[in-house]
Symmetry: C2
């Protein structure tokens, strides 16, 4: 029987995630497995929590990785915070906002939607008006909308919510590790990220943090969290000082996340963010030189996810196939209403290097 793993190629991952993984993170992933209650593993867990707090700029006690991908983090935030009929406002300007609406609706929330055109950001004044018109228990938004490449004004909306009893829930799946996140300063109460974007760690964990306000809402629920696996009251007992067994933590993935954060702090957060900005600018210049157009207006562009409009008459799938097969480069397709209309070029974490941008630009030049 043939082992397919023997022939895995080294593909340059320039899609919307997963991104390229540094060798040291691969090495961490394959360190000897310890037990999930082993005293040394607990030390690693504690150090990991501290690094997560640092990268999120938060003092929140409950700052941990959830044992699932970024979408599990979304599910965890909503299922722990939503009770049936809670008024929830979901701000939407892309696929991941729509996903939030779906998740919250399934959980019995009374969901209002405030939608902005895809490819443009949410407008704080419009959000403010909506928030003042109704008393929402939860307001949620995507920081970096991976489906469009738009950065939403998370800090500004946080200051609108300052002092209210509304829970502010933010998706930082794509922004985490690629741009600044100031959870406490921005009044964010609940937040979840992903590992396979700017943290450059293979997918499988979702960093999550809950403020005291979010924990209060959780602990004052009238009914148990309708999801045993993601019940943060139970998970907090495992990750907290009690160390009560809940489920078996994905040990080796936790090693990898530890190592990924370690590398980021070694490089320095400021340097990492600067590198993302610089390579993004370099890519945009090259894209425009090729006569291609960015989907998003300049002030709202994400450094790590670049949406490029597919030129009229070009078969976008054929281009992606040639990139993958001939040039060993993966880029992403458009999602939902943007399917067929854009390419999504990721410059996330370890992928965000000048030489990678050059390689992609040369390949695009050859194909187009």
């Amino acid at each position: 029987m043939k082992n397919l793993l023997d022939d895995i190629e080294d593909i340059l991952l320039m899609g919307p995630g997963p991104s390229c993984v540094p060798q040291k993170v691969y090495d961490a992933l394959s360190k000897k497995t310890l037990g999930h209650l082993d005293p040394y593993f607990i030390k690693i867990m504690d150090a990991l929590k501290e690094m997560l707090r640092n990268i999120l700029n938060t003092k929140n006690t409950l700052t941990i990785p959830i044992s699932g991908t970024g979408s599990a983090g979304m599910e965890a935030c909503f299922v722990n915070l939503v009770e049936p009929d809670d008024k929830v406002l979901v701000i939407i300007n892309g696929v991941f906002g729509v996903r939030m609406q779906d998740v919250a609706t399934r959980l019995g929330a009374d969901v209002d939607v405030l939608e902005f055109p895809w490819g443009t950001p949410a407008i704080p004044e419009v959000v403010e008006k909506k928030i003042k018109s109704t008393h929402y228990k939860i307001v949620s938004i995507i920081h970096a909308e991976t489906s469009t490449g738009v950065m939403n004004p998370v800090a500004e909306i946080g200051s609108i919510l300052n002092g209210s009893d509304t829970i502010y829930l933010v998706d930082v799946v794509t922004s985490l590790g690629g741009m600044e996140i100031r959870m406490d300063d921005w009044n964010i109460d609940a937040l979840y990220g992903g590992t396979q974007k700017c943290l450059s760690c293979p997918p499988g964990l979702s960093p999550l943090s809950f403020s005291d306000k979010a924990m209060e809402k959780l602990y004052s629920r009238k009914t148990k969290v309708p999801n045993w696996y993601l019940d943060l009251t139970l998970i907090a007992n495992y990750w907290g000082s009690n160390r009560v067994y809940h489920h078996t933590a994905p040990i080796n993935k936790i090693y990898a996340l530890y190592q990924a954060l370690f590398l980021i702090f070694e490089e320095g957060l400021e340097n990492v963010f600067k590198r993302h900005q610089e390579n993004h600018k370099y890519l945009v210049e090259g894209i425009e030189e090729l006569g291609l157009k960015m989907l998003v207006d300049e002030p709202y562009r994400l450094p790590m996810l670049n949406a490029v409009s597919v030129p009229e008459g070009v078969d976008e799938l054929a281009v992606r196939r040639r990139l993958r097969n001939e040039f060993k480069i993966e880029i992403g397709a458009g999602l939902g209403p943007l399917a067929g209309k854009i390419w999504r070029i990721g410059l996330m974490g370890h992928t965000s290097k000048k030489e990678n941008v050059t390689r992609l630009l040369n390949a695009l030049k050859a194909i187009l």
Copy 2:
């Protein structure tokens, strides 16, 4: 800053999981990450599904790994199959049966419990009487109760349910890869396993399979699955021929599971099961020579999880600490009502080797 990963020791994992991981599985874990929609990754997914079907002896189309640990598999089975007020029977004789009750209750099921003394198996005649007294939509049981070391008569209960419209839901987290599972022959409709037990793959995925009958119940739901992340109608579209993006699959974990199954089929299923039996017998002999007693009566003992009663007057925690610190061996403690009363010795997958049993017996001799 010190990197804690540099000092991870090689601990012999003889607890209730995680078990020892073969070097080839570690190597698989650190192969180059591919995109979750990459054509070559899709080949690996397809081959993995086929191996899962083979190890489970099933033809079920929906046979896939869930992106979470074994407990996520439990959550996935119940959340997809349970609708509010469904009559569910949970057979309990240990911690994991209790967990099933908790999961199903949170989802609004009308749960009946049939409990057997912990350390003894379910009795088919008693189950039959219960099933005939009430029309249950779902009957669930744990195959290998990890908290007690008891094997439940899953095949016999399956034959009682044969021909009924009741969904038969079985947890094979600990049995999978260590003893025979005949999903189709035993009339099992929904089943989930774990990777960190007898598959000897680090934790983070849960193999799951749904029969046509289970799929029919899923597709005839009156309401959407109240869990977007684990909604099998969506996940089936990603793992099926449509390849519709749902969440980013944990790529490298999937490589590792592929490799773990590959090794099992290379050794041969029969040989693997025989090895588990032989090392279990060797352990039991040694345990009894030391004057210790097994918790479970001989016919109901699991080969991969051995519950040993802690002798009167012995500080069980002190023994486990010395094993860990001096002898670099991890064994498990008792859970729930068995806390402090038993040790749980795992002989799962790659851990199940004569030399490991000898090493543990020598260490126990030195300590006791």
